[in-house]
Symmetry: C3
Subunit: 272 residues, 3 copies
């Protein structure tokens, strides 16, 4: 069992150069492909805290375009990363990430997010846009799309209080599919699941996703209107701009520090 896991992790961490032609290692994405499963490690070398910023988002948009036109060769995509924190406050187009996340839900492949480390804001919305989520010991902080998974009551509590939620609690309430004590167990479970799903024909995966999306996904119009009404209307306002400025000061331009490592407790420093 342990040996098997070790082999899996090794495969996991080694990009296969032969595949680079079709699924290249972008600046921020390292890809490896094997038996219908594409593993994508998000590693933002432009940021000390692996920010889900315009570099990651642009690279993801390119990858998704390739996957969307996929010839059924890849049937499962596993996204992983050590940390995926806050939204890049300097991103120019508010609707770009909304379109990106919608396009992820439209992929013909099954998508799995592996969470190891802090995942907040747009980083968490990215998790929500994947079909499934698995975590080891990670603090998660929700944003609006969370409500599709855990319901109104808990979403209001977690988002309004801007609390960091541990992976075990997240699994109990349905935020992630399951939580694991160790990184090894996490990757072993996810790789076995991905291999299992990849057994099935691509057409079956597409049909299943279409059916589940038809019942559980808000319409694209709702999401775009939501982004326009809420985010676009909120972000330019003085209190939010003030909080952003203070945030950049306190975090020394989004680098490692108390605010990044313990956002839940430190956030009050932004408002007094």
């Amino acid at each position: 069992m342990l040996r098997f896991a070790a082999v899996l992790l090794e495969i996991w961490l080694l990009p296969l150069p032969a595949m680079a032609a079709r699924y290249p290692s972008y600046g921020t994405l390292q890809t490896t492909k094997s038996d219908g499963v594409l593993n994508v490690v998000i590693n933002n070398t432009y940021s000390t805290i692996n920010l889900f910023d315009m570099h990651v988002q642009s690279d993801l948009a390119n990858l998704i375009e390739t996957l969307q036109a996929n010839d059924t060769d890849v049937r499962v995509v596993v996204f992983s990363k050590s940390v995926l924190p806050l939204y890049d406050t300097g991103f120019p187009d508010m609707l770009f990430p909304v379109a990106l996340l919608w396009n992820i839900t439209q992929l013909p492949q099954a998508t799995i997010a592996v969470v190891e480390g802090r995942t907040r804001g747009i980083g968490n919305e990215f998790l929500m846009s994947c079909d499934m989520r698995f975590a080891s010991t990670s603090p998660l902080r929700g944003a609006m799309y969370l409500s599709r998974l855990i319901g109104r009551g808990l979403t209001f509590e977690y988002v309004l209080s801007s609390a960091d939620v541990d992976a075990r609690t997240a699994a109990r309430v349905g935020w992630v599919n399951a939580a694991f004590d160790t990184s090894r167990e996490l990757h072993q479970y996810v790789q076995a699941l991905a291999a299992r799903i990849a057994l099935f024909p691509a057409a079956g995966i597409v049909a299943t996703k279409t059916g589940i999306n038809a019942v559980t996904r808000p319409s694209r119009d709702v999401l775009v209107q939501d982004a326009q009404n809420v985010i676009a209307a909120l972000v330019p306002t003085p209190p939010v701009q003030d909080a952003f400025k203070r945030f950049l000061q306190v975090t020394r331009n989004q680098s490692i520090g108390p605010m990044e490592l313990n956002y839940g407790a430190e956030v009050r420093r932004l408002f007094n």
Copy 2:
């Protein structure tokens, strides 16, 4: 910890007269305000069982109008009560409570319901209309809006069987956010949560609520049509009118007694 809780409870129970100008103690609502949090104790002196009747609903409608026009001074509202039982069978306008509950979901403030004691019928719909719910040892009995929180299957079971559900079970299935063993722990948790949420700017709370409502709340049309199709069509029918009459007899006009204290077990007395 215990000392802190004791102080909290003291604050909790004392209305601040200085605030009466803007948030008056209505006949059935006692209000206290502190650091962006408005605590509202529902205490219906017209009823021996704290009925959620026309007095409470009218006072709430006035309070909500004030809150709706709020100048961002109040950012969190905590509603509490010892018991909040059945619907007032004599209420003249079926659509008034529907509009009232909808308006609560529209408030710019975060709303938290604290449940201590029996909560049933329209009393439970009021809980559902708040953003979050926390309970200590309380029997709850569901009504239709419950399905938004706990799903079709359990809602059918609880509502069709008219069962009293304990707070611990309610927390496990998502009916309330969390259940606590003691009143002290309950209030301590809620006051800390309210204080945390009140840290954030009012605009952020509004935007978060707008976003979550967009995805999780049925449209106003669905709710109004539902009330017209179901409640308004049902209430005037002979079997419901007969059950109401028998209910008033058995409860001695909705006073304390076996039916009120143990509705789940006693309800069969209405039908044979």
Copy 3:
């Protein structure tokens, strides 16, 4: 307690001939009626594995037509069966089962499914169409309607991996209302629940179901379009037809064997 359960089971298993005039024992359905509760045992004598095939579906359609025109005499319907496995691959009209399942959600009676044994594919969709579900030790395999009960994340995991899920896990995530260790406890709980619901007037049951359906059920159009877009578009394709052919070979025309008893593990034999 045990004696009471024994009596219940006895009633359960004996069809009452006197009732046959209105609720006949169809070829595949054995019915017994008592105090407003109709018990329906699905026993497909045309199939060695109790297939949810055209015989069962036709008999159910007839029963549902009778129940739909019910004179309020029957207020609760309990469906049970030992096993209810895969979809009949030879069924001529893809939209017939969609209409059948929709009509079950429209019944004026409360409907309860009792699960004992393997329940997969259309058999699970039948479970989903009932108001409530209770299980003892049974492997369940989900299909698309599952998402209404357990959310996007877990539905994707279970359906895409085509995994058999045990009843205990199913209860934890909301797939079934509750799981029981023994058949006796299961039937005892369900019969007590059915008797409790049958206490209430038929008009109240109808109104409750209408209200919950209004909020939690996808529209008929969504379901029909879903069936047309997904199932009707998928089933005639070569990979699905190939998988069906292989499935019939491997299962020796859907009879008892390793594939039937352990579908989750054996399914890979269909694809390599």
